[in-house]
Subunit: 364 residues, 2 copies
């Protein structure tokens, strides 16, 4: 695709009847803003018209990946994530390598959440002035190093200019045996709420990046690294998918409560979590003390953890736990799915309080 000439050429609408250009000029009209709808309201608004045909579609809009039926025993998974400068990241925060790795990692995490094996990646880059070849070399090094860990090819994409911000668009395909796909809508009451890793470290790292407050170098490095270079839980996703014990899964991008809320809503369930089982790491606990923040808030609403939340059949929990130890995965049961629609927290003393997700909505 070609670029339009530089802004030095002034645009003039002289001589154009308005029907050519469809200017909207009525100043009295107040169109609806995205903030009113919210991200999920917007998706719900456009989704119905997006389904043109049913053939081949196992799952469309509304899961971590689209799931497409192909010939052969596997379904095709497709996921796509955008990272926009000054919205999702700032260039001065981290190395190009970390950013390249993260842009791929968040997509591998979506494949993991569906129980799949990642296949190929496609990278779109809109590059502003000032981003030079050395930076891009680092970006691709970070991305291809991570890709090599997972046997994923970078098979193509698009590279173009941008006027101000760097934009990264990554699409990843994957495959998963038909009977192993993990959806969000298939949890059952009584299933355990299982995490494949702790949450909150990424949020603590972000807080340190944003506020630059004095914590020890070692602590800052550890938490910032978790934020800038998350590990996609592909191994854990495959363990869950092949175990036969897992009924639903999602990855934690917006926040534990927010993403657990998606499983609850799509499965028509609530969840009860146990305070003493929420994994708060020593680093998160230490940083929360130094920064005067609530560690549990980070764990529940921090986001960008890229661990998986799984709904696990309680009768198969022990055998899954054994298998997870053999595979080097660390699963923790933090509660259970229940009838209803609320997510509540029960303390060791037995007190029950409702939890409200405060995860991220891009338009609010």
């Amino acid at each position: 695709m070609q670029e339009v000439p530089s802004p030095g050429i002034a645009f003039s609408d002289k001589g154009f009847p308005p029907e050519i250009l469809n200017f909207r000029k009525a100043t009295w009209y107040q169109p609806m803003q995205l903030e009113e709808l919210g991200e999920f309201g917007f998706i719900a608004r456009v989704a119905p018209a997006c389904r043109i045909r049913d053939r081949g579609v196992v799952k469309g809009i509304g899961d971590d990946c689209a799931v497409v039926s192909m010939e052969g025993p596997d379904h095709l998974l497709v996921t796509k994530d955008l990272l926009v400068e000054r919205v999702h990241f700032r260039l001065e925060w981290g190395s190009a390598e970390n950013l390249g790795a993260k842009a791929l990692a968040v997509n591998l995490s979506d494949i993991a959440a569906c129980g799949g094996v990642p296949l190929d990646a496609f990278v779109g880059l809109a590059i502003p002035p000032g981003v030079d070849v050395e930076w891009l070399d680092g970006f691709y090094k970070g991305m291809t190093d991570l890709a090599a860990e997972y046997g994923v090819n970078l098979l193509g994409g698009d590279t173009t200019r941008s006027k101000t911000d760097l934009m990264i668009s990554v699409t990843v395909t994957g495959t998963v045996p038909r009977d192993q796909v993990l959806f969000r809508h298939t949890a059952r009451a009584g299933d355990l709420v299982v995490l494949t890793g702790p949450t909150g470290e990424s949020a603590a790292g972000l807080e340190i990046l944003l506020r630059g407050v004095p914590v020890t170098t070692e602590l800052a490095q550890e938490l910032i690294h978790t934020h800038l270079r998350p590990r996609p839980h592909v191994k854990e996703g495959r363990l869950l998918a092949t175990s036969g014990a897992c009924r639903a899964a999602i990855d934690v991008s917006d926040g534990l409560l927010s993403d657990l809320g998606h499983i609850c809503q799509d499965s028509g369930l609530g969840a009860q979590l146990y305070r003493e089982r929420i994994p708060v790491t020593r680093s998160v606990s230490e940083a929360s003390g130094l920064l005067g923040k609530d560690a549990l808030h980070w764990a529940f609403n921090g986001g960008e953890d890229y661990v998986l939340i799984a709904a696990v059949d309680p009768r198969q929990w022990d055998s899954l736990l054994d298998a997870s130890r053999d595979a080097g995965c660390e699963l923790t049961a933090i509660g259970e799915f229940v009838t209803g629609s609320e997510i509540v927290l029960q303390t060791a003393a037995g007190r029950v309080t409702p939890l409200t997700p405060r995860g991220w909505d891009h338009f609010r």
Copy 2:
């Protein structure tokens, strides 16, 4: 993925040892700029490291689509295009509907160039302040209307904020029978250079948009429409792929000469074109007179035509032409592939001049 907080929160690097953030602060160092490499130089630089494994890859970086072998008789095609505000389009030029349709059309055109049938689309949108719900409704209407024409689902994607410019990232998958894939590198000397439609109208429309010069309303509407709402030549691509007569193909996005140059370079050939066979439409001819521009320059270097260039076995040209008439396609042979590496133009009087592609390079 979560957003970083608003720019209201100032970033401070107090207390950080430099190894945490990897600032590059040496002012004496002049890193290589993208302009020095050019778009295709940059792609050639990163491509080797992007191939992690060979299994499953029929064609990686360097064709209109990536071609992936799957179980079953068809290959999977994947293509991805970015459209960035103020680089590829300006919002004031056209309706949201046209832009939505075009963002999909340019990807369908890549599927067409490989001879494929489009399957599903995935849409990433980074939305700046000021783009409201009504505009987005129009954008999705344009996109889904075109998707419906081709039986293509919009199966997912990502929607997020941007600080300044609208960015659109569309990925389209498709399928093509293994023995029908059209590549760029498989033309042979003696093959005809065939166009599936005229070139130059889009460039004339862009010129009118940019300069706002007085041409008749009817002429402006026609040419601007071609620029803003291109038709992907999916039908033509399938005709070529199923005919057995076509040996290579590409779509015209950067410009006829530039894209023909890709076939030539990848196939190790040159091409000889005939001046009197280059299709210059009445509209292009008329606009070129009114705007004082060379119609042939538009036809050769204009770009964004989204017709296909095909290499056709001359012995099968007559039967392909018959089939194309039955299918409602308009094929024109404008020259032939020859040994060597130059593209030359021969006039009716027999004079031969070399042609230099002046198509678009995003980084030059």
